[in-house]
């Protein structure tokens, strides 16, 4: 059994579509400075090890973890890079957790950093590089490239999301208005978060429904932006956390599960996931993480959740699949305000990925915000006391789900 791990602090850089005033190391530095600001007794010299990650090939520059070493304060210290596509941040957080839990001598304070400066590079090339191999195989099996682009224009992240949306909408019989309602809640929350990107304090459902379709049923006003930004999270041991911060956040469960890939599949062989909104991977991840955390009734025991939802239909889907609400009831919860800032189970009060998406950092920002909500230090703090929270991530080859369950006390051992 590993050591009990705690989160002592988390920090963010400002997010925007073009952070033209900084370069990548400077952006990362902003997040680290903000993270250390919350733990005044700790200096960068006290950090024992680093975990770092971003999307491969997005900025057109490789091994960033090495050439920005000085900007992270990581010189002559153990450093590791983790990159798993959209879940990079979630995997970085879990790697930070493992580093502390392992109990290696001299490794107590671990800084987990994830970042993305999308305005620097060509995101579409980075995304396509994930699937180039499979695309070449399909081409060799007799599908010309022009047909492939047609088939796969529904195959990027938004394409997968719109398939999920049609499946989900059929099952739960929701309308586009229900999707817009989720967006409005997120953008309003983002307006109250200092580091968020799409701040739209006066957005209405009608305005969202007024924008054109990108891919049915998702409209332009519903999709996430492409942001520049960074996030840092400090993991440490139980003893040290009690020294350096007022309310240590205990990490009680983590999960990271890859399900079958959607759509194209391995070597163009399609997918066994007939209903794309079923998400067996997410169900399994939450089962594992909740079991570790000793949570048996997530619907009652979880006080706050940050889920990875670039698109509104996913937010509805994840909160159900992670066990926070009954199947097909999420829409009602948004309608009645259960998920709002002052609701019973607030969701994505930072505005979520729907309002801020620096891809590599997004899945780290979820547990980071969830931890800050327990500490009472979040930018858009919920009024009620948060005892347990969760941060979730989705990505990889659209098949990986990560999750971190946190609480203000260690897991009860029976």
């Amino acid at each position: 059994m590993g050591r009990q791990v705690c989160v002592a602090s988390a920090g963010f850089s400002e997010h925007a579509s073009k952070r033209s005033d900084v370069n990548m190391p400077e952006l990362v530095n902003e997040a680290i400075v903000d993270c250390l600001k919350r733990v005044p007794s700790l200096d960068i010299k006290d950090i024992d090890a680093f975990v770092n990650g971003n999307m491969p090939a997005f900025e057109g520059s490789n091994i960033p973890e090495l050439w920005m070493t000085d900007w992270m304060g990581a010189r002559n210290k153990p450093l590791m890079r983790v990159t798993t596509g959209g879940t990079t941040g979630g995997s970085v957080a879990i790697a930070g957790y493992y580093s502390v839990a392992a109990g290696l001598p001299g490794v107590d304070n671990v800084l987990a950093i994830a970042f993305e400066q999308q305005s620097q590079g060509d995101t579409s090339v980075g995304l396509a590089s994930v699937a180039y191999g499979e695309i070449s195989v399909m081409n060799s099996l007799g599908i010309p490239y022009d047909q492939l682009t047609l088939l796969l224009s529904g195959g990027a992240a938004i394409g997968i999301a719109s398939y999920q949306a049609t499946n989900y909408m059929r099952k739960s019989k929701i309308t586009e208005e229900d999707l817009a309602r989720v967006v409005v809640q997120n953008r309003h929350n983002a307006a109250k978060t200092w580091w968020a990107h799409l701040k739209m304090p006066d957005l209405t459902i009608e305005e969202v429904l007024d924008t054109p379709y990108i891919s049915y049923p998702l409209r332009y006003g519903m999709v996430c932006p492409a942001s520049d930004g960074a996030c840092a999270m400090l993991f440490t041991t139980e003893e040290k956390a009690k020294d350096i911060c007022d309310i240590p956040v205990f990490v009680n469960g983590v999960g990271s599960i890859a399900n079958e890939t959607a759509l194209i599949g391995y070597g163009g062989s399609g997918s066994g996931q007939l209903d794309l909104s079923e998400q067996l991977g997410a169900q399994k991840t939450s089962e594992i993480a909740f079991n570790q955390a000793g949570i048996h009734f997530p619907r009652k025991e979880i006080d706050y959740a940050e889920v990875y939802s670039p698109f509104p239909n996913q937010e509805l889907m994840w909160v159900e699949k992670l066990g926070l609400f009954e199947e097909n009831t999420a829409t009602k919860m948004y309608e009645t305000g259960v998920t709002a800032l002052n609701g019973e189970l607030p969701i994505n009060c930072s505005g979520g990925v729907n309002s801020t998406n620096a891809i590599g950092a997004s899945a780290l920002e979820r547990p980071a915000v969830a931890a800050l909500q327990i500490m009472g230090k979040a930018s858009n703090q919920v009024p009620k006391t948060v005892h347990t929270s969760l941060g979730h991530g989705w990505g990889g080859y659209v098949n990986l789900v990560t999750m971190m369950v946190m609480a203000d006390e260690p897991v009860r051992k029976y």
């Binding site: 400002e14 925007a16 073009k18 033209s20 005033d21 370069n23 090939a57 057109g60 520059s61 590089s129 070449s136 195989v137 399909m138 060799s140 099996l141 007799g142 599908i143 010309p144 047909q147 047609l150 088939l151 796969l152 224009s153 529904g154 195959g155 719109s162 398939y163 949306a165 049609t166 499946n167 059929r170 953008r187 307006a191 799409l198 701040k199 739209m200 304090p201 957005l203 305005e207 969202v208 007024d210 924008t211 990108i214 891919s215 049915y216 332009y220 006003g221 079958e260 759509l263 194209i264 599949g265 391995y266 070597g267 062989s269 399609g270 997918s271 066994g272 007939l274 209903d275 794309l276």
Partner: protein, 176 residues
């Protein structure tokens, strides 16, 4: 409407940042060699040439893969049983793409579907009859293979899927 005006109309509060020195550069990915064994595809492609459809079945869990798959992820077993499949199937999921017609500049709405053949346990992205409007597409819609004119023994031999009549009736609950 451009992206900027769209966001403005949604009340987006934008913060402007000064610009630091920016140096343009480019990074070309060189060509590479992707290894992929397609021996398991041969019988499938040969059958396609005869306008016949076959799926590959895992002898451990009995799932039928169409198109064939090299390994069953559920069992870590190489599927090895060829099963004849019918030409009919159903829409497992769908979305719509918006493409500009290169000649007229008109934006076309084309439904793209995940097609699951009857008997198969997997679905794959495919195209529908271009005459079908996306508003008429639904999940569970019965479809049938439309063969291409020139059969070449490739995946494009199935040019697209025709919609066929749905024999299912909407049953009304019995009135008391």
């Amino acid at each position: 409407m451009s992206k900027r005006t769209l966001r403005k109309s949604m009340g987006y509060i934008k913060k402007e940042y000064p610009r630091t020195r920016t140096i343009p550069a480019s990074w070309y990915l060189s060509s590479y060699k992707f290894k992929f064994n397609i021996t398991h595809m041969k019988p499938f492609l040969d059958k396609l040439k005869q306008k016949k459809l076959v799926g590959l079945q895992c002898s451990s869990c009995n799932r039928i893969y169409f198109p064939p798959r090299q390994i069953c992820g559920k069992c870590l077993v190489k599927p090895d049983r060829w099963i004849d499949l019918r030409e009919t199937g159903r829409v497992a999921s769908f979305t719509v793409t918006y493409l500009k017609d290169p000649e007229t500049g008109e934006v076309l709405e084309r439904p793209i579907v995940c097609a699951q053949l009857d008997g198969a346990d997997t679905s794959y992205p495919a195209q529908l009859d271009p005459d079908i409007e996306f508003k008429d597409t639904y999940i569970g819609m019965p479809i049938k293979v439309h063969w291409a004119e020139n059969i070449k023994g490739g995946l494009m031999d199935i040019e697209y899927y025709d919609s066929i009549e749905d024999s299912a009736k909407d049953l009304q609950p019995k009135e008391e």
